[in-house]
Symmetry: C2
Subunit: 187 residues, 2 copies
């Protein structure tokens, strides 16, 4: 089975409250619709700051959420000098403390994770793909540096559509690019 | 078969001539011996500059070689705005142009590559491991993000000892660290 690949660069999700702290009354604009329905790359960027380093121009994705979350790669985490856990989006247990800096203010809280490898899927697509009752799959990116990614978690929601999300370490290591078609294999 | 893993951060090799251009008469000192016999992390750092960006504090490895070569990750190459090919060390065909900046001068030339995944091995180890006549193997890094790396090239020399080299994209994506033991599998 082939699915489309999305390589996620470091990015931020914000709550309404944290958005107001960082951007005040500025409206949140859409730069580009993402593959997942309703999700978008916004017109806002922040800086991610730790004692060791600041990463600038980190994109805020929209819409606003019920949690504030910073997703970085392991490579980014070394630059920042932090050790975030590998988590599902929204699971912030044990997440690393960072400061998110906007033009109007900043927020410091434990909210930084390494996102796990995951496959977005709708309930009907899960049936079609024969993945009901399956929690994890493998994904193969074929290139000059072909790579088999294990531990790809299936994330089902009526709001999702079929798409594999890898971070930039995995995407760049395998030479996979957003929009590539990649193979999914059942265990 | 298990072998030790070395995750290679971006680094530079220099010819004697280019070393003199960058560092003048300063002697090249050893900071740390590497796993490969005779190779060392030196006491010298350079900057790697392109029109788009400069990466500072890039380590020079020693000893000096018959070629000047900059090895970066795909992630680094996006930051630098260049598109280096995937190459064996020393094969600079089609390599990307960068400027290497030292305290005394700088050198601009096509010398930047993405190193291929490779397994260092001595001739006797190759016999012991049953890898005579085999050009490529797979490597598995087991972690919370278990990854199977294909296209691992075997590099044999009497000067080598058994060690798997991955770049930081592959190392960090799989959560593999220098010194980890990882599994090698024949095709």
């Amino acid at each position: 089975m082939e699915v489309i690949l999305g390589v996620s660069n470091r990015h931020v999700h914000l709550t309404e409250e944290d958005y107001r702290t960082l951007f005040g009354d500025e409206p949140l604009g859409v730069v580009k619709e993402l593959v997942q329905p309703g999700q978008f790359s916004s017109d806002k960027k922040v800086s991610i700051k730790t004692e060791k380093r600041t990463l600038e121009n980190v994109r805020l994705l929209g819409p606003l959420r019920s949690y504030t979350q910073v997703e970085v790669s392991k490579t980014d985490s070394f630059a920042l000098g932090i050790n975030p856990p590998i988590r599902n989006s929204g699971d912030l247990e044990g997440s690393a403390v960072v400061t998110i800096v906007g033009p109007m203010g900043e927020v410091t809280k434990p909210c930084c994770i390494l996102a796990n490898r995951h496959l977005h899927i709708s309930p009907s697509q899960r049936v079609e793909c024969g993945l009901v009752g399956v929690d994890k799959v493998k994904a193969i990116v074929r290139s000059e540096k072909t790579t088999v990614f294990e531990d790809v978690f299936i994330k089902e929601s009526p709001d999702y559509t079929l798409e594999l999300h890898l971070d930039t370490d995995d995407g760049n290591g395998s030479l996979g690019k957003t929009g590539d078609m990649v193979e999914i294999i059942k265990y």
